[in-house]
């Protein structure tokens, strides 16, 4: 070790939570990308595929609404997924603006492996958490999102059940 680095006490009161959240999310995403690398997929592509498989959405706009994602970026993600043969675009006949999205047979076949990879990453990050703790964490995050979405709602959120 050439230069001994001093270890400054990281006293962060205010932004600590934001910072930690960013780190945790980065770690989650990095792990997911690492696991998905051998499938040639990014975390975002995986998420899209998962939503499609679950039937949560079947058009690009729908997907964007559910995932709070940019429509332009979504188009490009779908381009890649289609190019990889995992998703097929199919123009709707009744409303010729919309394009239905369908998982191909190959895409569906890969899905279990992808889901397993995602679960692995999450399990790793939640090692040592009890189910109650996971639920609590989820409720905290939900409340924060709610607070950010509807700012000024000053009801004590102690009973906050989404």
């Amino acid at each position: 070790m050439p230069a001994p680095r001093r270890a400054p006490p990281p006293r962060e009161q205010g932004l600590g939570v934001g910072h930690l959240m960013g780190r945790a999310r980065t770690s989650l995403l990095a792990g997911l990308d690492a696991q998905l690398e051998r499938f040639g997929l990014s975390g975002m592509q995986f998420a899209v595929l998962k939503h499609l498989a679950e039937g949560a959405a079947d058009t690009a706009a729908d997907l964007c609404r559910h995932m709070h994602y940019d429509t332009g970026a979504m188009t490009r993600i779908l381009d890649r997924l289609e190019h990889q043969g995992l998703v097929r675009r199919e123009r709707c006949r009744e409303d010729r603006r919309v394009v239905f999205l369908r998982i191909t047979r190959g895409g569906r076949a890969q899905l279990p492996r992808l889901l397993a990879a995602g679960a692995r990453v999450l399990e790793a990050h939640l090692a040592g958490f009890s189910q109650a703790e996971i639920d609590t964490l989820r409720s905290y995050l939900g409340r924060m999102i709610d607070n950010g979405t509807h700012p000024g709602d000053n009801h004590t959120a102690t009973g906050g059940k989404s």
Copy 2:
């Protein structure tokens, strides 16, 4: 049904956590950017300035280590901060590779307002949280980060402290 809950998808909800985390962080960041917009600063620039003001780091490499950030991106952020007259670069004489970073008088003068803006956003998102809940949330995030950083450490993390 013999209720053989052998190994169903027990952690299926886990992905929800990742999703919620992303949403919460996005909301936090969007709020911060909105508050900082009138200062002409991004959330990242603010974070860097804050670290410098606290004396947590005084070189670019140091900052990157503390903030887990890319060195190239850091150079460019510092370019902007310097161009805005908030930070000054000063070559070290002993080790001519390093460039010390100093907050200018103007930068330090703005800091209180910036910190207040950051605190506002965080307070808004944590409305209705007790101090204990905030601490719990922080500990959860810390444990997740730890799990991601040192994967495979299979000691029950129940006693995990920061």
